[in-house]
Amino acid sequence: MAVVVGWLYACAVFLILRRSVLRLIIGLVLLTSAANLLIFTAANLKRGTPAIVPLGATQPAVGYSDPLPQALILTAIVIGFGTLAFTLVLVYRAYKTLGTDDLDAMKSTDT
């Protein structure tokens, strides 16, 4: 798992450093996924029973899995989905207005 996370980060960084805007966006998406998997790994997510207290008991059954990382990842995925949709529209509009997807050509606001 850790290797996968590392590999994803490497790919993401490589893509982010490219000049094409689309690659940049894909890189950012990979980066979010990598971060999600990182939460997955770091928080020790494993198979287990749901963390629900059975009727009549005061504690959840033994071997329950921590529900919080799942909630975190789900939230992060939803947010990532929203931002991804927005950035795609943005990139498309930018491509139409600027006529290029090369980051090096987008310099008019720098000077």
């Binding site: 929203g82 949709a85 529209v89």
Partner: protein, 137 residues
């Protein structure tokens, strides 16, 4: 796109998808499911419709603007969060009432359900907004 196969299957699939989304929505009451997944399924169904026909057809089908759907959903969720405050509880606490229905037995209705309904509408509205914007380009 105008694939005959897609259009024909869609007639079958779309009602099923929508029903399934409602099912998921209510299942979220006590099991896996809920407004978010339900809303996504419904959104996916509408996306399929827009693929098979045109976006303008989808607009005619829904008739309500997706942004309105979105804001109504937000409003419902907000109200659901505020109801418990009237009962002097914390924001977003669950308030339940039990309705006894003949034949069905007791049904517990609560603010979480209302909140989920809001989420459902927000998700449908948001997916439709994104979809329409992207496909109209």
């Amino acid at each position: 796109m105008s694939s005959l196969i897609l259009r024909t299957t869609l007639r079958l699939i779309l009602p099923i998808l929508l029903l399934y989304s409602v099912f998921l929505f209510f299942r979220g009451h006590n099991h896996v499911g809920g407004g978010f997944t339900g809303g996504l399924v419904a959104g996916a169904g509408f996306a399929l419709y827009a693929l098979a026909y045109r976006v303008s057809d989808l607009k005619q089908l829904i008739k309500i603007e997706p942004q309105t759907l979105l804001s109504v959903g937000l409003l419902i969720s907000l109200v659901a969060g505020l109801i418990p405050v009237l009962g002097n509880k914390n924001f977003l606490s669950g308030e339940w009432i039990t309705i006894s229905m003949p034949r069905f037995g007791d049904i517990a209705l609560g603010t979480p359900l209302l909140f989920e309904l809001g989420v459902y509408l927000v998700v449908v509205g948001a997916t439709l907004t994104i979809l329409m914007n992207l496909m109209e380009e």
